[in-house]
Symmetry: C3
Subunit: 325 residues, 3 copies
């Protein structure tokens, strides 16, 4: 999915990029234009992408990108059409360059474009409470409700028949139809992604969005962070209870049920028809299959195949867990 | 406890109910009126109740209800005065019928009856901050404080000497005297109860309230859901720390102390003088005795008798836990 | 660190204090003035301190306090210059006396000194959203942002280049430079400290502050309680993710990274360069060294030395944990 909200300040000349990374590429024409920065899959001709882990060595073969930020040990995996930019720290370089293409994606200060809904075109169309604020680049469908003190910050698309609670803040988010978001949520802020640095940590850009599909419900006090290079997605008819935290780049399938205080760490993929008990935690970069059940309080630290019930910390097959205890 | 807030749209004729459930009852008079839907214990003559689990087979003997929604395998447990309505899925049918008696209990959209406290009778009586909203059917005792941006939504009764923090939202709740509810809480919203359905989940009605007894304190960022058929109750002088989640129908006794980030799942009963350490989680439908101590981080998945100290996941006797580790 | 915000209502005569505790001190001059109440370390001549646990028997030798609240079994550890006040329950007596010196430190009702920022001197200096409130005794440096509906309550100092999100509440807090506090946080409220009492629990005073050093970031929906006798401190360039709870008197070092939904119980000290995974919980009164890594979901119940990686519940060396599982 392309980033629909942040304006691309590209193209950027390849020699500007080389200068930024303090590298040279033998024989390259200096004034070639690089159009955009994307992940391996969605990149096209004249785009730059990145490749930082062997995990993606099959995917890298298929990239259409013209340039790829990578390191010495991975550069030989690239397809021929793709020119390597070899750097020390791939993700740090990606971060620096993304900030050049999308300077607006780093800063999550309060939205100063937000104005009282009474002064907007939504005044007629939406049913809303007191002190509702609407930012720039917002669209809202028919038959929607927005509760008191809620802030629909910039870059939000809401479909039809949606109900937003009170004291909720939403930004950089696409909400489809028949969605309910309850009170005190914060949706679409940047994730907890940065490069640690003892002087001052360096935030990396989050150019992804949160996408909430049809008929979802998000419980009170939940936080869902937007993606960094891709998006955070909650699938159709998936229900989240109160005080849940969904980190950046997480994708959850359809018809899943997630109980209170669950936390899902960054970039984990969850299947459809998944049930997760209260307070369970799921580590980052995992793949949880379809029809999986995860017992309350579990700590999941490895992939789980389809149709499996697990429990425990670390989570294991539920029968094994209960037999051992 | 009866539901004091939602208007009963009954009586409903028994043949309407049979039509709703797509069943026939041999020889029943069609125009009999059913007055209300209640649990086994609080039902009276002309009420309808429900019986869906063998766990309640002793209780069902004592019900005063004239009708009972149940299934084929349980119907013979009913007392003679009580006519069974045999359905496939008891709770689903209860849900559908409750929605007929109490149509207002399903929808938890923002409270559009709420108006600025400056325009209400509470202006003189209550000490309050900026931007405080008060909904319909609210009463507030003497010497109370309500903080900035807080919303006392419809159906709330607050006693004397209570202090509500800022950015807090309360609905369908009875608060006794000397209670403190701190900032950013959401109290009285419907619980995480619904029937999963791959097209669109079906919410079940929540006609219960939250009842907070004298001298309680509820910490910042906590959520307490109201009950579905019964109520969620926090006993006298019980203290909750920050970021706690109490699910629907939970009852907690007196003088209990619950540390930060604890979660208690639906319908669990907690005794008096109970101490629960931070981040502990307690599964649903359990019974935790009096004078129980539950160590921080524990995951409780079975009943705990009085006067017991437990720890671990799953929680066990604390000595056993510490010896094993 | 001294309490900078609560006004000391002392001095109090020693015979008033004896009367409060219902004790006699043989031969003491009744009209001696006691200037302040402080911990063992920061007390000076004419101050009163307290000593309630053998853990502090080395520290007590060095106190400069003229008086010390202690019990029968500990009184002989005091240095000669320090007169013991022997009571049954040391902390309860400390609490009662602190309430005499600092009566304003007990009550955390909403801040009725807060007024709209439009009516304050910050109108020109700060960039701010709608409905921002500012309490008494607030100072804010240059180039700061405060989001919609946020409340900077009384007794807050904010440095330069800080960004406060929306719907956030801050009180009794010192924020240095380049700090970001995201949406829906509550910072600086009293901790979960009280003396259980079956009639009505007795809150103990919290005369400490929250101190947030340069370049920190605090994630959405987090709560940080202020200290009781000392302060709660977040060290330079330490980052907290969403929905974290930091209890009173906790101190965290520099350059630490704490992932979502972590909870740290009261008075625990965390070193620098510490990494804590999501949902980990750390018990109170522990000492976690520098360069420690704590795996996600861990429950830490004992001290951890420098340069150690732990995981599990209870947390142990990570290799041991993974080998066992």
């Amino acid at each position: 999915m392309n980033n629909p909200f942040f304006r691309n300040h590209g193209p950027i000349l390849i020699h500007e990029i080389c200068k930024l990374f303090e590298i040279n590429i033998a024989g390259i024409k200096e004034n070639l234009e690089v159009v955009d920065i994307k992940d391996l899959q969605s990149s096209k001709d004249k785009d730059i992408t990145f490749f930082h882990s062997k995990k993606y060595k099959d995917l890298v073969k298929t990239t259409k990108a013209s340039y790829c930020i990578t390191n010495e040990s991975l550069k030989n995996e690239l397809p021929k059409n793709c020119i390597p930019l070899v750097v020390e720290n791939v993700l740090l370089s990606v971060s620096k360059l993304t900030a050049k293409f999308y300077p607006d994606s780093i800063n999550d200060d309060y939205d100063d474009t937000a104005t009282n809904i009474d002064e907007t075109k939504f005044k007629e169309k939406v049913r809303y409470g007191k002190n509702v604020l609407i930012g720039a680049n917002v669209s809202i469908g028919s038959n929607c409700y927005i509760g008191h003190n809620s802030i629909i910050e910039k870059n939000v698309t809401i479909g039809n028949n949606c109900s937003i609670g009170s004291n909720t803040i939403i930004r950089n988010t696409i909400i489809k139809n028949d969605v309910k978001i309850l009170d005190n949520c914060v949706i679409g802020k940047h994730g907890f992604g940065f490069f640690p640095n003892n002087t001052k940590n360096l935030r990396y850009p989050h150019i992804g969005v949160v996408l909430i599909e049809d008929s979802c419900e998000i419980g009170c006090g939940s936080t869902i962070d937007r993606g960094s290079m891709s998006s955070t997605i909650i699938g159709r008819n998936t229900y989240l209870d109160n005080q849940i935290h969904i980190a950046h780049n997480v994708r959850i399938g359809e018809n899943s049920i997630i109980a209170g205080q669950v936390g899902i760490a960054g970039s984990t993929l969850i299947g459809s028809n998944v049930k997760i008990g209260g307070q369970a935690g799921i580590s980052g970069h995992l793949k949880i299959g379809n029809n999986v059940e995860i017992g309350g309080g579990s700590g999941v630290i490895k992939n789980i195949p389809d149709n499996t019930k697990v429990m425990g910390y670390p989570a294991k097959n539920i029968r094994e867990f209960l037999r051992e205890k």
